[in-house]
């Protein structure tokens, strides 16, 4: 009988101990998950900045050196002037870009720098070609890149930029 009493006590005590654990609902689990370092995504951060109280945003940006602040504000203004549909499309593009390995992202940025170094009128033509190639199927794209028209329309440097960019971000 004593053994049975001890077992019963132990079982009830174990049951008591489960109560606070069971009481931790999803919110507590979320808190634990956050403690393990799950960071906000870049777009979440940007959206937080965009939707932040203007005074709070002002305080945040006022800590920066003026040129950096001006740069961020200009880009942010441009971003905020997008329609929700345009912003959604940009997010899609950005998420695709983020899927790239960091070194490929860096390569794409370097290619963009080279793109910016072309004369403005050539940038327009290259941009149009890049957009057209992205709308094509892989077979059509390969055919276009191998065509005489593409070859003669663009300088070697320009062809290299376009080919490489569309390879990274088809």
């Amino acid at each position: 009988m004593n053994a049975i009493r001890v077992l019963l006590l132990a079982a009830l005590a174990a049951g008591f101990c489960q109560i606070p654990v069971a009481a931790q609902g999803p919110q507590a689990r979320m808190g634990r998950r956050w403690r393990q370092g799950e960071a906000w995504s870049p777009l979440d951060q940007l959206e937080r900045l965009r939707t932040m109280d203007p005074e709070q945003r002002e305080r945040l940006l006022s800590r920066l050196p003026p040129p950096r602040r001006a740069n961020i504000e200009r880009h942010l203004q441009r971003y905020m002037s997008l329609t929700p549909e345009q912003r959604a499309r940009l997010w899609e593009q950005y998420e695709m870009f983020r899927q790239l390995a960091p070194e490929r992202q860096q390569e794409f940025r370097r290619l963009f720098v080279r793109f910016l170094n072309q004369p403005p009128e050539r940038q327009d033509v290259m941009r149009e070609e890049f957009q057209r190639l992205r709308r094509m199927s892989p077979q059509q794209r390969a055919a276009r890149l191998g065509s005489n028209e593409f070859h003669y329309k663009f300088q070697p440097n320009e062809r290299d930029i376009i080919e490489r960019m569309v390879e990274l971000l088809p």
Binding site: A39, P67, V113
Partner: protein, 192 residues
């Protein structure tokens, strides 16, 4: 205020906190908030987590105020708590932690023309790459070596104080630091 006077002042303030003076706690917080959070940031490489752990540090200081005795330097105690929390977090959260992106960059100057922008983007990429290497190199150090290096470099602590924080001998600290810096020299030599 000289360093010694500052240390005595820390202990004096903490004794006042023990006696119920919350204003003294606010003064201690003001003085040590940034160094603690910056140390934690470099340890875990995530600002959100660093601030959360930083709060935990000061919360523990506050909660143990009743039993505070000024036997060791206040900053030794503070960094001992911070290091303990950081090491636990690194051990427990290794699989899921996320490093943040690169930090403060060189002032780039006004961005006007496309050419300037191209140059600024390139410069930023170079700076980002350098910083990325430094962060990766430090992240790759074993946790205790990392803590020792961060305290030595950024908090300018002496070997004896680092030993107090890590709970080991001064010669053990020197050994940790010399190995860590040797690794960093090998890994970052190409940045010279």
């Amino acid at each position: 205020m000289t360093a010694l006077a500052s240390l005595e002042r820390d202990a004096e303030l903490m004794v006042r906190v023990r006696e119920g003076d919350d204003t003294s706690f606010a003064l201690l917080l003001n003085r040590h908030r940034a160094p603690v959070v910056h140390f934690l940031y470099r340890m875990v490489q995530n600002q959100g987590v660093a601030e959360e752990l930083g709060q935990e540090v000061f919360l523990r200081v506050y909660k143990s105020r009743a039993t505070y005795e000024p036997t060791a330097k206040f900053t030794t105690w503070l960094f001992r708590i911070a290091t303990h929390l950081a090491l636990n977090w690194l051990r427990d959260g290794k699989a899921e932690k996320a490093s943040e992106s690169i930090d403060e960059r060189v002032d780039e100057g006004p961005v006007r023309e496309l050419r300037d922008r191209a140059a600024n983007v390139e410069q930023r990429m170079v700076n980002e790459a350098r910083l990325g290497e430094v962060r990766s190199a430090i992240e790759a150090l074993p946790a205790k070596q990392r803590a020792a290096v961060l305290m030595h470099k950024y908090e300018e602590m002496e070997y004896s104080q680092i030993a107090g924080v890590l709970g080991c001998s001064e010669s053990a600290v020197k050994s940790l630091l010399f190995r860590a810096y040797e690794t960093l020299r090998a890994r970052l030599a190409h940045l010279a």
